[in-house]
Protein backbone atom coordinates (compact mmCIF):
# COMPACT_ATOMS: atom_id res chain seq x y z
CA UNK A 1 0.00 0.00 0.00
CA UNK A 2 1.93 2.98 -1.26
CA UNK A 3 0.84 6.26 0.28
CA UNK A 4 3.45 8.42 -1.44
CA UNK A 5 1.86 10.97 -3.74
CA UNK A 6 2.60 14.29 -5.41
CA UNK A 7 1.08 17.52 -4.15
CA UNK A 8 -0.89 17.79 -7.41
CA UNK A 9 -2.42 14.34 -6.94
CA UNK A 10 -3.50 14.73 -3.35
CA UNK A 11 -5.01 18.14 -3.85
CA UNK A 12 -7.69 16.51 -6.02
CA UNK A 13 -9.26 15.56 -2.70
CA UNK A 14 -10.06 19.19 -1.94
CA UNK A 15 -13.44 20.37 -3.19
CA UNK A 16 -15.16 23.74 -3.09
CA UNK A 17 -16.99 24.22 0.19
CA UNK A 18 -14.69 21.86 2.10
CA UNK A 19 -13.42 22.38 5.61
CA UNK A 20 -9.65 22.08 5.70
CA UNK A 21 -7.32 21.88 8.67
CA UNK A 22 -3.85 23.29 8.13
CA UNK A 23 -1.08 22.61 10.64
CA UNK A 24 1.60 25.00 11.77
CA UNK A 25 2.16 27.80 14.23
CA UNK A 26 2.73 30.66 11.82
CA UNK A 27 5.16 29.22 9.28
CA UNK A 28 6.74 26.87 11.84
CA UNK A 29 5.52 23.37 11.12
CA UNK A 30 3.26 24.54 8.30
CA UNK A 31 2.86 22.29 5.23
CA UNK A 32 4.26 24.94 2.90
CA UNK A 33 4.34 22.76 -0.23
CA UNK A 34 0.72 21.66 0.23
CA UNK A 35 -0.46 25.21 0.96
CA UNK A 36 1.33 26.39 -2.16
CA UNK A 37 -0.41 23.70 -4.19
CA UNK A 38 -3.76 24.54 -2.62
CA UNK A 39 -3.46 28.12 -3.87
CA UNK A 40 -3.28 26.72 -7.44
CA UNK A 41 -6.57 24.86 -7.11
CA UNK A 42 -9.81 26.11 -8.62
CA UNK A 43 -11.77 25.82 -5.40
CA UNK A 44 -13.66 28.32 -3.31
CA UNK A 45 -15.89 28.70 -0.31
CA UNK A 46 -13.34 26.95 1.90
CA UNK A 47 -13.46 26.89 5.67
CA UNK A 48 -9.90 26.93 7.00
CA UNK A 49 -9.11 25.70 10.50
CA UNK A 50 -5.63 26.91 11.32
CA UNK A 51 -4.11 28.83 14.21
CA UNK A 52 -3.25 31.74 11.91
CA UNK A 53 -4.08 32.72 8.34
CA UNK A 54 -0.48 33.12 7.20
CA UNK A 55 0.90 36.59 6.71
CA UNK A 56 -0.23 39.21 4.21
CA UNK A 57 0.25 37.59 0.81
CA UNK A 58 2.13 34.59 2.25
CA UNK A 59 1.03 30.98 2.79
CA UNK A 60 -2.68 30.90 3.59
CA UNK A 61 -2.59 34.69 3.11
CA UNK A 62 -2.44 34.02 -0.64
CA UNK A 63 -5.57 31.88 -0.43
CA UNK A 64 -7.28 34.73 1.42
CA UNK A 65 -6.31 37.24 -1.27
CA UNK A 66 -7.63 34.85 -3.89
CA UNK A 67 -11.02 35.03 -2.19
CA UNK A 68 -11.15 31.26 -1.76
CA UNK A 69 -11.73 31.33 1.98
CA UNK A 70 -15.30 31.73 3.20
CA UNK A 71 -14.60 31.20 6.88
CA UNK A 72 -11.53 31.06 9.11
CA UNK A 73 -11.43 29.24 12.43
CA UNK A 74 -8.37 29.98 14.51
CA UNK A 75 -6.91 31.70 17.56
CA UNK A 76 -4.63 34.44 16.26
CA UNK A 77 -5.27 36.22 12.98
CA UNK A 78 -3.49 39.37 14.11
CA UNK A 79 -0.36 38.40 12.18
CA UNK A 80 -2.14 39.04 8.86
CA UNK A 81 -3.79 42.47 8.80
CA UNK A 82 -5.65 41.59 5.61
CA UNK A 83 -7.83 39.19 7.61
CA UNK A 84 -9.47 42.17 9.29
CA UNK A 85 -9.92 43.92 5.94
CA UNK A 86 -11.71 40.94 4.43
CA UNK A 87 -13.85 40.58 7.54
CA UNK A 88 -14.84 44.25 7.49
CA UNK A 89 -16.17 44.11 3.93
CA UNK A 90 -18.12 40.94 4.72
CA UNK A 91 -16.00 38.69 2.56
CA UNK A 92 -14.79 36.50 5.42
CA UNK A 93 -16.41 34.91 8.45
CA UNK A 94 -14.23 34.60 11.52
CA UNK A 95 -14.55 32.12 14.37
CA UNK A 96 -12.01 33.12 16.99
CA UNK A 97 -11.19 30.51 19.63
CA UNK A 98 -8.84 30.39 22.58
CA UNK A 99 -5.85 28.41 21.37
CA UNK A 100 -6.34 25.72 24.00
CA UNK A 101 -10.01 25.36 23.12
CA UNK A 102 -9.17 25.13 19.44
CA UNK A 103 -6.57 22.42 20.16
CA UNK A 104 -8.91 20.51 22.44
CA UNK A 105 -11.78 20.70 19.95
CA UNK A 106 -9.56 19.27 17.22
CA UNK A 107 -8.42 16.46 19.50
CA UNK A 108 -12.07 15.84 20.43
CA UNK A 109 -12.99 15.66 16.74
CA UNK A 110 -10.39 12.99 16.20
CA UNK A 111 -11.25 11.06 19.34
CA UNK A 112 -15.00 10.71 18.84
CA UNK A 113 -15.81 13.19 21.61
CA UNK A 114 -18.86 15.21 20.58
CA UNK A 115 -18.32 18.12 22.94
CA UNK A 116 -16.68 18.96 26.25
CA UNK A 117 -16.63 21.46 29.07
CA UNK A 118 -13.72 23.83 29.72
CA UNK A 119 -13.17 26.70 32.14
CA UNK A 120 -11.39 28.69 29.45
CA UNK A 121 -13.40 31.64 28.18
CA UNK A 122 -16.16 31.56 30.79
CA UNK A 123 -17.58 35.06 31.29
CA UNK A 124 -15.76 36.59 28.30
CA UNK A 125 -17.03 37.92 24.98
CA UNK A 126 -16.04 34.63 23.36
CA UNK A 127 -18.57 32.87 25.59
CA UNK A 128 -21.53 34.86 24.33
CA UNK A 129 -24.44 32.60 23.50
CA UNK A 130 -22.62 29.54 24.79
CA UNK A 131 -23.95 27.17 27.42
CA UNK A 132 -22.39 27.38 30.87
CA UNK A 133 -22.56 24.39 33.19
CA UNK A 134 -21.59 24.11 36.83
CA UNK A 135 -19.43 21.07 37.50
CA UNK A 136 -18.08 20.61 41.03
CA UNK A 137 -19.00 24.20 41.87
CA UNK A 138 -17.07 25.71 38.98
CA UNK A 139 -18.37 27.25 35.77
CA UNK A 140 -17.50 25.50 32.55
CA UNK A 141 -18.21 26.40 28.94
CA UNK A 142 -19.67 23.92 26.44
CA UNK A 143 -17.48 23.52 23.35
CA UNK A 144 -18.06 21.22 20.41
CA UNK A 145 -15.56 19.13 18.49
CA UNK A 146 -13.98 20.30 15.25
CA UNK A 147 -13.64 18.04 12.24
CA UNK A 148 -12.58 18.56 8.64
CA UNK A 149 -12.82 17.00 5.22
CA UNK A 150 -9.09 17.28 4.63
CA UNK A 151 -6.09 17.95 6.86
CA UNK A 152 -2.80 19.27 5.54
CA UNK A 153 -0.05 18.59 8.03
CA UNK A 154 3.73 18.74 8.22
CA UNK A 155 6.10 16.22 9.78
CA UNK A 156 9.83 15.73 9.74
CA UNK A 157 9.95 12.07 8.73
CA UNK A 158 7.49 9.46 7.57
CA UNK A 159 8.03 5.80 6.99
CA UNK A 160 6.30 4.47 3.90
CA UNK A 161 3.42 3.17 6.02
CA UNK A 162 2.73 6.71 7.18
CA UNK A 163 4.12 6.64 10.71
CA UNK A 164 5.33 10.15 11.56
CA UNK A 165 7.78 11.94 13.79
CA UNK A 166 8.13 15.69 14.19
CA UNK A 167 11.02 18.10 14.69
CA UNK A 168 11.08 20.23 17.87
CA UNK A 169 8.32 22.89 17.96
CA UNK A 170 7.18 22.13 14.42
CA UNK A 171 4.96 19.51 16.06
CA UNK A 172 2.30 21.95 17.34
CA UNK A 173 -1.14 21.30 15.76
CA UNK A 174 0.01 18.67 13.28
CA UNK A 175 -0.49 15.45 15.30
CA UNK A 176 -3.98 16.42 16.42
CA UNK A 177 -5.11 17.59 12.97
CA UNK A 178 -3.88 14.23 11.65
CA UNK A 179 -6.67 12.60 13.68
CA UNK A 180 -9.58 14.89 12.85
CA UNK A 181 -10.10 14.85 9.07
CA UNK A 182 -11.55 12.36 6.60
CA UNK A 183 -8.47 12.61 4.39
CA UNK A 184 -5.08 13.40 5.91
CA UNK A 185 -2.09 14.46 3.84
CA UNK A 186 1.31 14.59 5.50
CA UNK A 187 4.04 16.70 3.93
CA UNK A 188 7.40 15.42 5.11
CA UNK A 189 11.07 16.26 4.62
CA UNK A 190 12.24 12.67 4.61
CA UNK A 191 10.74 9.26 3.84
CA UNK A 192 12.26 6.13 5.38
CA UNK A 193 11.47 2.42 5.39
CA UNK A 194 9.20 0.86 8.04
CA UNK A 195 11.29 -0.12 11.03
CA UNK A 196 13.59 2.89 10.79
CA UNK A 197 11.43 4.86 13.20
CA UNK A 198 11.48 3.35 16.67
CA UNK A 199 8.03 2.07 17.74
CA UNK A 200 8.18 4.08 20.95
CA UNK A 201 9.18 7.36 19.29
CA UNK A 202 6.41 7.37 16.66
CA UNK A 203 4.10 10.28 17.42
CA UNK A 204 1.48 9.76 14.72
CA UNK A 205 0.72 6.09 14.00
CA UNK A 206 0.13 5.34 10.33
CA UNK A 207 -3.57 4.58 10.61
CA UNK A 208 -4.20 8.33 10.61
CA UNK A 209 -2.36 9.06 7.36
CA UNK A 210 -3.85 8.74 3.89
CA UNK A 211 -1.11 10.26 1.75
CA UNK A 212 2.51 11.32 2.07
CA UNK A 213 4.00 14.14 0.00
CA UNK A 214 7.70 15.03 -0.06
CA UNK A 215 8.24 18.70 0.77
CA UNK A 216 9.50 21.09 -1.90
CA UNK A 217 9.20 24.33 0.03
CA UNK A 218 10.84 24.43 3.44
CA UNK A 219 11.40 27.00 6.14
CA UNK A 220 15.07 27.86 6.68
CA UNK A 221 16.93 30.61 8.49
CA UNK A 222 16.73 32.53 5.24
CA UNK A 223 12.96 32.13 5.07
CA UNK A 224 10.88 29.87 2.82
CA UNK A 225 13.02 28.34 0.07
CA UNK A 226 12.69 25.66 -2.56
CA UNK A 227 14.77 22.62 -1.74
Amino acid sequence: MDKIRTAEEVMQNVKSGDTIMVGGFGLVGAPLTLIDELTRQEVNGLTIISNNLGEAGKGLGILLRQGKIKKAIGSYFTSNREVGDHFNIGKLEIQLMPQGTMSESIRAGGAGIGAYYTKTGVGTELAKGKEVRVINDENYLYEEALKANVALIKAQKADTLGNLIYYKTTRNFNPIMATAADYVIAEVDEIVEPGELLPEEIVTPHLYIDAIVKSKLILTREGVVER
Binding site: F25, G26, V28, G29, N51, S75, Y76, F77, T78, S79, V83, G84, F87, N88, I94, L96, M97, P98, Q99, G100, T101, M102, S103, E104, I106, R107, T118, K119, T120, G121, V122, G123, T124, E125, L126, N139, Y166, Y167, K168, T169, T170, R171, N172, F173, N174, P175, I176, V203, L219, T220, R221
Partner: protein, 218 residues
Protein backbone atom coordinates in the same frame (compact mmCIF):
# COMPACT_ATOMS: atom_id res chain seq x y z
CA UNK B 1 12.17 58.10 33.49
CA UNK B 2 14.17 55.91 31.22
CA UNK B 3 13.45 54.77 27.69
CA UNK B 4 10.61 52.35 27.03
CA UNK B 5 13.11 49.55 26.62
CA UNK B 6 14.81 50.32 29.94
CA UNK B 7 11.43 50.36 31.65
CA UNK B 8 10.54 46.99 30.21
CA UNK B 9 13.86 45.47 31.28
CA UNK B 10 13.38 46.90 34.77
CA UNK B 11 9.96 45.27 35.07
CA UNK B 12 11.25 41.98 33.69
CA UNK B 13 14.19 41.94 36.09
CA UNK B 14 11.91 42.48 39.09
CA UNK B 15 9.45 39.92 37.80
CA UNK B 16 12.16 37.26 37.59
CA UNK B 17 12.50 37.45 41.38
CA UNK B 18 8.96 36.13 41.73
CA UNK B 19 9.91 32.79 40.24
CA UNK B 20 9.93 30.09 42.90
CA UNK B 21 12.71 27.48 42.62
CA UNK B 22 12.07 24.78 40.02
CA UNK B 23 8.72 26.21 39.00
CA UNK B 24 7.21 25.52 35.59
CA UNK B 25 6.68 28.97 34.14
CA UNK B 26 4.93 30.24 31.03
CA UNK B 27 5.95 33.60 29.60
CA UNK B 28 3.51 35.63 27.53
CA UNK B 29 4.37 37.89 24.61
CA UNK B 30 6.00 41.30 25.26
CA UNK B 31 7.61 42.14 28.60
CA UNK B 32 7.21 38.56 29.91
CA UNK B 33 9.52 37.30 27.16
CA UNK B 34 12.30 39.47 28.63
CA UNK B 35 12.07 37.73 32.02
CA UNK B 36 13.92 34.59 30.91
CA UNK B 37 17.33 36.21 30.80
CA UNK B 38 17.04 37.39 34.43
CA UNK B 39 15.99 33.99 35.75
CA UNK B 40 18.37 31.32 37.02
CA UNK B 41 18.07 28.87 34.14
CA UNK B 42 19.13 25.98 36.39
CA UNK B 43 16.16 26.58 38.65
CA UNK B 44 13.25 27.21 36.34
CA UNK B 45 11.48 25.31 33.56
CA UNK B 46 10.01 27.52 30.90
CA UNK B 47 6.93 26.18 29.13
CA UNK B 48 5.64 27.55 25.87
CA UNK B 49 2.13 26.79 24.66
CA UNK B 50 3.19 25.90 21.13
CA UNK B 51 4.55 22.69 22.62
CA UNK B 52 7.76 22.72 24.62
CA UNK B 53 8.99 22.43 28.19
CA UNK B 54 12.57 23.53 28.77
CA UNK B 55 12.72 26.66 26.65
CA UNK B 56 16.13 28.34 26.80
CA UNK B 57 17.54 31.69 25.82
CA UNK B 58 19.13 31.72 22.38
CA UNK B 59 22.80 32.46 22.95
CA UNK B 60 23.71 33.44 19.40
CA UNK B 61 20.68 35.01 17.70
CA UNK B 62 22.13 34.58 14.21
CA UNK B 63 22.33 30.87 14.79
CA UNK B 64 18.65 30.26 15.34
CA UNK B 65 16.80 27.09 14.41
CA UNK B 66 13.67 27.89 12.38
CA UNK B 67 11.96 24.82 13.87
CA UNK B 68 12.42 25.99 17.45
CA UNK B 69 10.33 28.98 18.51
CA UNK B 70 8.28 30.17 21.46
CA UNK B 71 4.64 31.30 21.51
CA UNK B 72 5.72 34.74 20.32
CA UNK B 73 7.26 32.98 17.28
CA UNK B 74 10.68 34.13 18.46
CA UNK B 75 13.65 31.78 18.11
CA UNK B 76 14.66 30.05 21.34
CA UNK B 77 17.07 27.35 22.52
CA UNK B 78 16.59 23.93 24.07
CA UNK B 79 17.66 23.35 27.69
CA UNK B 80 18.94 19.97 28.85
CA UNK B 81 15.94 17.84 29.81
CA UNK B 82 13.59 19.64 27.44
CA UNK B 83 10.64 17.88 25.80
CA UNK B 84 8.20 18.55 22.96
CA UNK B 85 4.47 17.82 22.69
CA UNK B 86 1.53 18.77 20.50
CA UNK B 87 -0.77 21.72 21.10
CA UNK B 88 -3.55 19.79 22.83
CA UNK B 89 -1.09 18.18 25.24
CA UNK B 90 0.51 21.57 25.82
CA UNK B 91 -2.77 23.22 26.70
CA UNK B 92 -3.71 20.20 28.80
CA UNK B 93 -0.71 21.17 30.93
CA UNK B 94 -1.93 24.75 31.16
CA UNK B 95 -5.63 24.10 31.58
CA UNK B 96 -5.11 21.12 33.86
CA UNK B 97 -3.24 23.25 36.40
CA UNK B 98 0.24 21.87 35.81
CA UNK B 99 1.92 25.21 35.05
CA UNK B 100 2.82 26.96 38.27
CA UNK B 101 3.19 30.52 37.09
CA UNK B 102 2.28 32.55 34.05
CA UNK B 103 3.64 36.04 33.40
CA UNK B 104 1.34 38.03 31.14
CA UNK B 105 1.05 41.54 29.76
CA UNK B 106 -2.14 43.55 30.17
CA UNK B 107 -4.04 46.43 28.60
CA UNK B 108 -5.90 46.95 31.88
CA UNK B 109 -6.04 45.37 35.33
CA UNK B 110 -8.80 46.34 37.68
CA UNK B 111 -9.07 46.49 41.44
CA UNK B 112 -11.13 43.28 41.46
CA UNK B 113 -8.24 41.44 39.87
CA UNK B 114 -9.70 41.06 36.40
CA UNK B 115 -7.46 41.73 33.45
CA UNK B 116 -8.05 42.76 29.87
CA UNK B 117 -5.27 41.83 27.49
CA UNK B 118 -6.76 40.59 24.24
CA UNK B 119 -9.26 43.00 22.72
CA UNK B 120 -9.90 46.71 22.34
CA UNK B 121 -13.48 48.03 22.16
CA UNK B 122 -14.44 49.32 18.73
CA UNK B 123 -11.70 47.40 16.96
CA UNK B 124 -11.97 44.03 15.27
CA UNK B 125 -11.10 41.22 17.61
CA UNK B 126 -8.62 39.24 15.59
CA UNK B 127 -6.55 37.35 18.10
CA UNK B 128 -6.75 35.73 21.50
CA UNK B 129 -4.01 33.07 21.43
CA UNK B 130 -3.44 31.28 24.71
CA UNK B 131 -4.28 34.17 27.06
CA UNK B 132 -7.66 32.86 28.21
CA UNK B 133 -6.26 29.36 28.66
CA UNK B 134 -3.39 30.60 30.83
CA UNK B 135 -5.76 32.68 32.93
CA UNK B 136 -8.05 29.70 33.48
CA UNK B 137 -5.33 27.21 34.29
CA UNK B 138 -2.02 28.57 35.59
CA UNK B 139 -1.76 28.34 39.37
CA UNK B 140 -0.38 31.85 39.76
CA UNK B 141 -0.81 34.77 37.36
CA UNK B 142 1.65 37.64 37.46
CA UNK B 143 0.99 40.68 35.32
CA UNK B 144 3.97 42.61 34.00
CA UNK B 145 3.03 45.88 32.38
CA UNK B 146 3.93 49.51 32.00
CA UNK B 147 2.10 51.39 34.69
CA UNK B 148 0.36 53.65 32.16
CA UNK B 149 -0.53 53.52 28.49
CA UNK B 150 1.50 55.41 25.89
CA UNK B 151 -0.97 58.27 26.35
CA UNK B 152 -0.32 58.36 30.07
CA UNK B 153 -3.63 56.79 31.08
CA UNK B 154 -3.61 54.48 34.11
CA UNK B 155 -3.71 50.78 33.33
CA UNK B 156 -4.63 49.89 36.91
CA UNK B 157 -8.28 50.90 36.78
CA UNK B 158 -11.35 50.62 38.96
CA UNK B 159 -13.11 48.36 36.51
CA UNK B 160 -11.90 47.11 33.14
CA UNK B 161 -13.51 49.00 30.26
CA UNK B 162 -11.89 46.66 27.77
CA UNK B 163 -13.23 43.11 27.42
CA UNK B 164 -11.87 40.96 30.22
CA UNK B 165 -9.76 37.90 29.45
CA UNK B 166 -11.17 35.72 32.20
CA UNK B 167 -13.31 35.73 35.32
CA UNK B 168 -10.29 34.34 37.11
CA UNK B 169 -8.44 36.99 39.11
CA UNK B 170 -4.72 37.65 38.85
CA UNK B 171 -2.32 37.36 41.79
CA UNK B 172 0.41 39.94 41.28
CA UNK B 173 1.07 43.08 39.23
CA UNK B 174 4.54 44.38 38.51
CA UNK B 175 5.05 47.76 36.85
CA UNK B 176 7.98 50.16 36.63
CA UNK B 177 6.52 52.01 39.62
CA UNK B 178 5.47 49.32 42.06
CA UNK B 179 4.57 45.75 42.88
CA UNK B 180 1.00 44.93 43.87
CA UNK B 181 -0.60 41.78 45.17
CA UNK B 182 -4.16 40.74 45.65
CA UNK B 183 -4.67 39.59 49.21
CA UNK B 184 -8.11 38.42 50.23
CA UNK B 185 -9.47 40.01 47.06
CA UNK B 186 -8.05 43.41 47.96
CA UNK B 187 -5.35 45.13 45.90
CA UNK B 188 -2.28 45.86 48.03
CA UNK B 189 0.80 47.84 47.09
CA UNK B 190 3.60 45.79 48.59
CA UNK B 191 6.73 47.36 47.16
CA UNK B 192 7.92 50.53 45.40
CA UNK B 193 10.40 50.23 42.58
CA UNK B 194 13.74 51.98 43.26
CA UNK B 195 13.44 55.78 43.36
CA UNK B 196 9.65 55.80 43.03
CA UNK B 197 7.48 57.68 45.53
CA UNK B 198 4.07 56.70 46.86
CA UNK B 199 2.74 59.97 45.47
CA UNK B 200 3.96 59.03 42.00
CA UNK B 201 2.13 55.71 42.17
CA UNK B 202 -1.03 57.39 43.46
CA UNK B 203 -1.01 59.96 40.64
CA UNK B 204 -0.75 57.23 37.99
CA UNK B 205 -3.21 54.72 39.40
CA UNK B 206 -6.98 54.78 39.09
CA UNK B 207 -7.61 51.59 41.05
CA UNK B 208 -8.04 51.72 44.80
CA UNK B 209 -5.30 49.97 46.73
CA UNK B 210 -4.02 49.64 50.25
CA UNK B 211 -0.42 49.86 51.27
CA UNK B 212 0.86 46.71 52.86
CA UNK B 213 4.62 46.49 52.86
CA UNK B 214 4.97 43.06 54.30
CA UNK B 215 4.45 40.37 51.73
CA UNK B 216 1.91 37.91 52.98
CA UNK B 217 2.32 35.37 50.25
CA UNK B 218 5.84 34.38 49.34
Amino acid sequence: MNTLKDVQELIAQRAAQEITPFATVNLGIGIPTLIAKYADSDKVFFHTENGMLGVGELKHPSNFDPGLVNAGKLPVAEETGASYFHSADSFAMIRGGHVEMAFLGALQVDESGFIANWAVPGKNIMGVGGAMDLLSGAKKIIITTNHCTKNGEPKLVKSCTYPITSTRKVNTIITELAVFEFVNDRLKLIELMPGVTLEEVARNTEADYEINWRKESK
